[in-house]
Symmetry: C2
Subunit: 312 residues, 2 copies
């Protein structure tokens, strides 16, 4: 079966499934709507971590060992910056820096984030459409036991230590959803929407907080399938499990499936976990969701597309 | 003999003598007034090539082989930038980039160029005072047979190919000389002013174009000694000789000595050149001006200071 697919993705975990989907789908079939709530300005540069994770994954530039950033990276800039007394809490590889410098330059010259991102995709040979959720700035902020923190301050500088009490997406209510992303979700011939295994609170929900996306998912004629980012109650990377507990949820895929239940048709938990209790209106499926290798990514992509096709 | 010394410097050649002077003089004795006419904005970053050359020379970070930039440099950023279709005509090493990013950040935060430069000097253990000629922007522009070119466009992108007809220092007339630099030149106890072997037209004269400097040199009570940047009618690096011929001068140290004669007390040509014809009011001295090694720099520093002390 063929047809267009929309994936919603945050950073590393989501990018892996996006990469699997890109390998499985034909040219022009995949659009990836990417969270920009983690974007921030640092050292005067505009940094879009989730866009870059997706770009690196889809251009085969991801570092396979470190789990983030670019392969064959060097760190000369950071060492020199530290030598000047500069802020070194956010690690910027030398190659990675090219994205931030060039993005900042083009944004300052008046290009939109989506134009810049599409340009990077073209330059790096990426066939999928890369769609930032919005060209307007949205900032994920967390109310913690130590007060409000910007996302990167919490995530990188504080290493997710502070307990999260509340999350807000500053600017989201006024942000305009990327029109191509909304149009892709409203496409009557859409084959599937895949919500990638990303943190629901800080990767997927910032997208849903931009007016239009939640309604487009609820009204979507194609099946919407979400993949758990938790295996055995733990995230492969990142603070999803800790954050869920702090916010009063069970740290389980099932809890995420319930949270998504108003707009998903199927929810995929890991094959190694016990089958979750039924969720009204949601088909529950188990599959191998851990993506260690490129083959794992392709396999999971095939699995979620097969689920979508069965539901159609 | 002891005492404070002011050096006027452009980039690489000047920075070498500044390094020699820094080794020879005691702590607190050396101030280096640095050309900022080559400064430019590139990729959204503020780049100050001559300041950086002096900083690298005085912190022993200069690359000894390449002749510019930092030692132990890597080039990952440039390769990645090229991969994104970014502008790659101006080579920015990964470590070098830290200077531009951090400088740009601090300038955007409201610090002056001289505060930023002094901070870099402290961070890198430089004892000499580093004084940008002005905190106000001055841009060296060249009228060539191909029209007006910004300095870096001419120097790097066009590799000094176009024939120079006229040079202007945009912003110089309105720029305020660095007050510490002017005060240092007016210091009644000053031991010497050294005009380093830099291109007279695009490294030293931008400094002189900022109101106050030329008068301070003319009225200076300490001896002012200039060192030729030309040996055998050629510059060690850069377009000085070609530029002189295009502007109608003989490409010789002597011609530079004449051009400086209103404000210098002595002029040093290279020992390998024929003794220049007398210049009224200027003591002519020959010395080894080629600085291949660190010892050469120290030796030339000793030589120019000895000349100053003899003239006092």
């Amino acid at each position: 079966m063929n047809g267009r697919v929309v994936a919603l993705s945050g950073g590393v975990g989501g990018a892996k499934l996006a990469q699997g989907l890109a390998r499985v789908l034909a040219s022009g079939e995949l659009s990836v709507v990417i969270n920009t709530g983690d974007d921030f300005r640092h050292l005067g540069l505009w940094i879009s971590p989730d866009i870059d994770s997706v770009v690196y994954a889809l251009s085969d530039l991801s570092d396979p060992v470190r789990g983030w950033g670019r392969r064959e990276e060097t760190w000369t800039f950071m060492a020199a910056l530290k030598g000047l007394g500069g802020a070194d809490w956010f690690a910027l590889g030398d190659a990675d820096l090219a994205m931030h410098v060039e993005r900042s330059r083009r944004l300052a010259a008046g290009e939109s984030l989506s134009t810049v991102t599409a340009g990077f995709g073209r330059a790096l040979g990426i066939d999928a459409r890369l769609l930032p959720m919005s060209d307007d700035p949205v900032s994920t902020r967390l109310l913690t036991n130590e007060g409000w923190l910007e996302f990167q301050e919490y995530f990188v500088n504080r290493r997710c230590g502070p307990a999260v009490q509340r999350i807000e997406f500053q600017g989201a209510a006024a942000a305009r959803a990327h029109p191509e992303a909304l149009a892709a979700l409203q496409d009557p011939d859409l084959r599937a929407v895949i919500i990638c295994p990303s943190n629901p609170f800080v990767s997927i929900e910032p997208i849903l907080a931009v007016p239009g996306f939640r309604a487009a998912l609820e009204q979507c004629r194609a099946p919407v399938i979400a993949v758990t980012p938790l295996i055995g109650g733990k995230a492969i990377k990142g603070p999803a499990a800790k954050m869920m507990q702090e916010l009063g949820y069970a740290a389980s895929g099932e809890a995420i499936g319930r949270r998504y239940s108003a707009f998903i048709d199927a929810f995929v938990t890991d094959a190694s976990d016990p089958a979750p209790a039924p969720i009204a209106g949601v088909t529950l499926v188990q599959a191998q969701t851990l993506m260690r290798t490129s083959e794992d990514r392709v396999q999971l992509a095939h699995a979620v597309l097969a689920i979508a096709d069965r539901l159609t």
